[in-house]
């Protein structure tokens, strides 16, 4: 959060107090991340093995180790509002090598879950939800593919929800249980009008 000094806006922004203060930390955040990720997120000793393993790090400012530090210190706002949060490819290379036996990838997933609770989420994620709500598939069939399937001796639609749409209401019920469709629609609308 910006700590205002009461200067004109531009100066306030430029000269903002960047020190870490007690109230930057939310101990609940550490606990929540641990609970959702089901890994010992608070045990990171900042060795850097994760970032050294990360395919996303060398081409961006994304640093998994930094998110781990934020998990330890409870820096909720800083973690959840950082756009780099969405650059983890979930390759689990870091998790394979972390000497503290933490699963940093799942820490990222937990933080993303917490971000979503604040409506922080890239729209492409929500579009997958919308697609599944409608068809049961994140990547649904199309006509070119239907023709190709037929040509190679497969049914035009696979024996999934595509061939058996009667299964779709069940899926919708599950998603509605979590209010996911409504939330997705709302957020997509807010973003894209």
């Amino acid at each position: 959060m910006v700590r205002t000094k009461g200067y004109p806006a531009a100066l306030d922004q430029k000269l903002q107090d960047t020190r870490l203060h007690n109230d930057d930390s939310n101990p609940e955040f550490t606990k929540n991340v641990k609970a959702i990720s089901r890994t010992t997120a608070h045990m990171c000793y900042q060795c850097g093995t994760c970032t050294g393993s990360c395919p996303s790090a060398p081409r961006s400012t994304y640093r998994i180790r930094k998110f781990m530090r934020r998990a330890v210190l409870g820096l909720e706002n800083e973690a959840l509002t950082d756009p780099d949060l969405w650059l983890c490819t979930t390759c689990y290379s870091c998790s394979d090598r972390c000497p503290r036996d933490i699963i940093p990838t799942d820490v990222i997933m937990a933080m993303r879950n917490l971000a979503f609770k604040r409506d922080i989420i890239p729209v492409n994620f929500l579009k997958t939800v919308q697609s599944i709500y409608k068809t049961g598939h994140g990547v649904p069939n199309n006509d070119v593919n239907r023709a190709a399937r037929e040509k190679i001796g497969l049914s035009r639609d696979p024996p999934t929800t595509h061939m058996y749409p009667e299964y779709i209401p069940g899926i919708q019920k599950i998603l509605d249980h979590y209010n996911l469709k409504a939330n997705s629609d709302r957020i997509v609308k807010e973003r894209e009008g």
Binding site: G48, C50, G52, S53, P99, R100
Partner: protein, 707 residues
């Protein structure tokens, strides 16, 4: 002293009735108790509750506990104190015994392992027999494990105290036995720790058997080149000690030998040494066989003729050796060894050795030698964790990834390359060298070791220094998480190494990949201080591999009845106050087998162990806990079934007054209770763990809530 009476049985029965805890079965058991010395008057027990600062008081309600203790039958006095083990705390015990005419004491505090001796002494000083004391452990087994449940912990402490009081009410006077101590000691392992301990013991006039499983002594330290932070050469400071060991008349050296069996107890260990078939006779052995002037003189004539080539383990496999070999020219003893696992028995060496010396015996067998010692020191050392298990660093996959110990051999003037550091892949001199600290240490994944291996930081600094000494224009990188330069003059050494040009990268290496053509290595890591991932190309990588107990440690420690912690290091009696002792009386630990140590700490530990091991020997006798089985002869039917059950062969059948009865050799009995629990006639009484005492404890627990 409380007067001895002979009606224990009756009294306890009465007492039990008083507390409404009598069941017919139990009465019967009571009747089996022999007429022995014991409390005659109604028991009067004093209960002393220790706060242990906040260790106990922090998680147990002391007030509530004491109030409860007052209600326990037979309790005549209660008290509590911040540290009962302190002088004022102990005085409370001695005073109460006198003033309150107590017949027994219970201290609710830490583990008996720590302070049982303390409170026994206090009990004795108060005028009671020291065995009238019972400890209730409410710290290790309660306060520390139930830190967040004060109510539950307090309830449990009540149970524990009630149980202890039940036993204390039935305790009897016992007299400790003393046994003489054999004036000899054994040291297992002849690395720097074992050698130092043996030299100290020998200097104190004690005959010392030094057992080493390798063909020669010197251990890990003899593989090292220079030592930090002084940079003196390991060989130069070690060789004189090796020579001293070889010629000390008080030291009987057994190389290529291991401990095969251990019997007995402090003061009287009977140890069987297995001298592995070596196939080569010493001069003395030759003489004993009537070959005058024969035996191995270390000339090495056998070596060139032997057709079998094997990797030299001392050189970390980087140099070959024959089936008949010495590890290096400076070995002590200078005596060849045949590796019978690879020897093809062609006999060429026998011919080369010749008819005068006749040192080689291809038909040699293992020999077993029995010795008696009063005390023993384990100094079994360490080996490297098999770092290839951390597959991300490619050890054993990429040729130019080596371990610190391999580096020592490669940089050592007497090593396989005569001290020229080269890349294993092409023999070139490496110019860019990366050192990886915490390779397998501080690792909680299950593959690797959770502890700090303690000397890798420092030897890696030394390695970096040695590169600058030998390779002009080289660049070294040390990848570290923390530099632990805690010893005397260590931090100054760190300063010096950084000044010499080593780049310290604060980041644990994620993985290493090899360029298949150049065999150069790409080190991937996060420079955490720069917050930037890196891909560093180097010519050689040195892994500061974690250490673990040496291979034979576990077998050896079991023979001596020594425990180990989860990670395999041998367990000291107390981590701070008794780091050289073990929970087996008369057995001590020296050096790294107890946990990673650098050379100064290892030597200090060895000297400590030697000193501790010499005390009982110099005293000449030791007191044994009188927890023996005794035979109630009137009840013994002489069936003899117990005789075979006893794991320590302490029992025998004898004729007494025309009857066959069992007899216990107290010095052999360990009080394990196997016989006592078994005897169908209830004729065996276990001192201090007698059936009525144990039954009373169980009753106190099971029926306790009804009180």
């Amino acid at each position: 002293m409380v007067e001895k009476k002979k009606t224990t049985t009756k009294k306890t029965e009465t007492k039990k009735k008083d507390t409404k805890k009598v069941a017919p079965v139990k009465q019967e058991i009571k009747k089996q108790a022999p007429v022995k010395t014991g409390p005659s008057e109604k028991p009067r027990i004093g209960v002393f509750i220790c706060h242990c600062g906040t260790n106990i008081a922090g998680s147990i309600d002391i007030k509530d506990l004491e109030a409860y203790a007052k209600t326990i039958p037979n309790v005549a006095h209660t008290d509590n104190y911040q540290y009962v083990c302190s002088t004022p705390g102990q005085k409370k015990i001695t005073d109460a015994i006198r003033d309150q005419k107590l017949t027994g004491t219970v201290v609710a505090a830490c583990s008996p392992r720590l302070h049982e001796p303390t409170f026994r002494t206090a009990t004795k000083e108060g005028g009671l027999n020291q065995f009238r004391f019972e400890m209730a452990n409410i710290r290790e087994q309660n306060a520390w494990v139930h830190m967040h449940d004060k109510e539950g912990a307090t309830d449990k402490a009540k149970d524990t105290i009630r149980i202890a009081v039940a036993k204390a009410s039935l305790l009897e006077d016992l007299t400790p036995k003393t046994v003489p101590v054999e004036k000899a000691a054994m040291v297992v392992g002849a690395g720097i720790a074992g050698m130092q301990a043996a030299l100290d013991l020998a200097a104190a006039g004690i005959k010392t058997y030094l057992i080493e499983s390798a063909p020669s002594i010197g251990g890990r330290m003899s593989q090292l080149d220079k030592t930090f932070p002084t940079l003196d050469c390991s060989q130069c400071i070690l060789t004189p000690k090796m020579v001293d060991v070889g010629r000390d008349s008080n030291i009987e050296l057994y190389t290529y030998s291991e401990v095969d069996a251990v019997e007995g107890y402090i003061g009287n260990f009977d140890v069987t040494i297995r001298k592995k078939a070596r196939g080569v006779l010493t001069m003395a052995e030759a003489e004993a066989r009537g070959i005058i002037g024969g035996g191995c003189n270390g000339c090495g004539d056998c070596d060139p003729v032997c057709p079998v080539v094997k990797p030299n383990v001392f050189e970390m496999g980087m140099k070959p050796r024959k089936a008949i070999y010495i590890n290096h020219p400076q070995v002590v003893p200078l005596l060849y060894t045949i590796d019978f696992d690879s020897c093809v028995k062609c006999g060429l060496c026998v011919t080369a050795c010749g008819p005068e010396r006749k040192a080689i015996d291809l038909e040699a067998k293992d020999e077993f030698i029995k010795v008696k010692v009063g005390t023993a020191i384990l100094a079994t050392g360490f080996e490297l964790f098999p770092i290839e298990k951390k597959t991300e660093w490619g050890y054993k996959k990429f040729e130019n990834v080596i371990t610190g110990l391999e580096f020592e051999r490669l940089i050592c003037a007497s090593g396989p390359t005569s001290g020229h550091l080269v890349r294993p892949s092409d023999g070139e001199t490496p110019k860019r060298i990366a050192f990886l600290l915490c390779a397998g240490s501080r690792d909680n994944t299950g593959v690797g070791k959770p502890y700090c291996s303690r000397f890798c930081c420092m030897y890696s600094l030394k390695h970096a220094h040695q590169i600058y000494e030998k390779i002009p224009g080289a660049q070294t990188y040390i990848f570290y998480m923390d530099i632990r330069s805690f010893g005397k003059a260590y931090e100054e050494f760190y300063y010096r190494i950084q000044d010499e040009g080593t780049k310290f990268v604060r980041g644990r290496v994620a993985n290493i990949l090899e360029d298949p053509k150049s065999k150069n290595l790409h080190v991937y890591a996060d420079d955490t201080l720069l917050d930037r991932p890196m891909d560093l190309e180097v010519d050689l990588v040195v892994l500061a591999s974690a250490v673990q107990p040496s291979e034979d440690t576990n077998r050896t420690r079991k023979l001596f009845g020594v425990s180990c912690s989860m990670d395999g290091w041998l367990l000291e009696a107390h981590p701070k106050l008794n780091p050289c002792g073990t929970t087996t009386a008369g057995v001590f630990l020296a050096g790294v087998c107890q946990g990673p140590k650098d050379i100064p700490d290892t030597v200090a530990s060895a000297e400590g162990a030697a000193s501790a091991a010499s005390i009982p020997i110099h005293k000449g006798e030791v007191e044994l806990e009188p927890y023996f089985a005794t035979c109630i002869e009137e009840k013994c039917a002489g069936c003899g079934m117990c005789v075979n059950l006893c794991p320590y062969s302490a029992l025998a059948l004898v004729d007494k007054d025309g009857r066959t009865v069992m007899e216990v050799t107290e010095a052999k009995c360990k009080g394990c209770g196997t016989c006592g629990g078994f005897c169908p006639g209830g004729a065996i009484w276990m001192n201090h763990f007698a059936t009525p005492q144990i039954v009373a404890q169980i009753d106190a627990f099971l029926l306790g809530g009804e009180q």
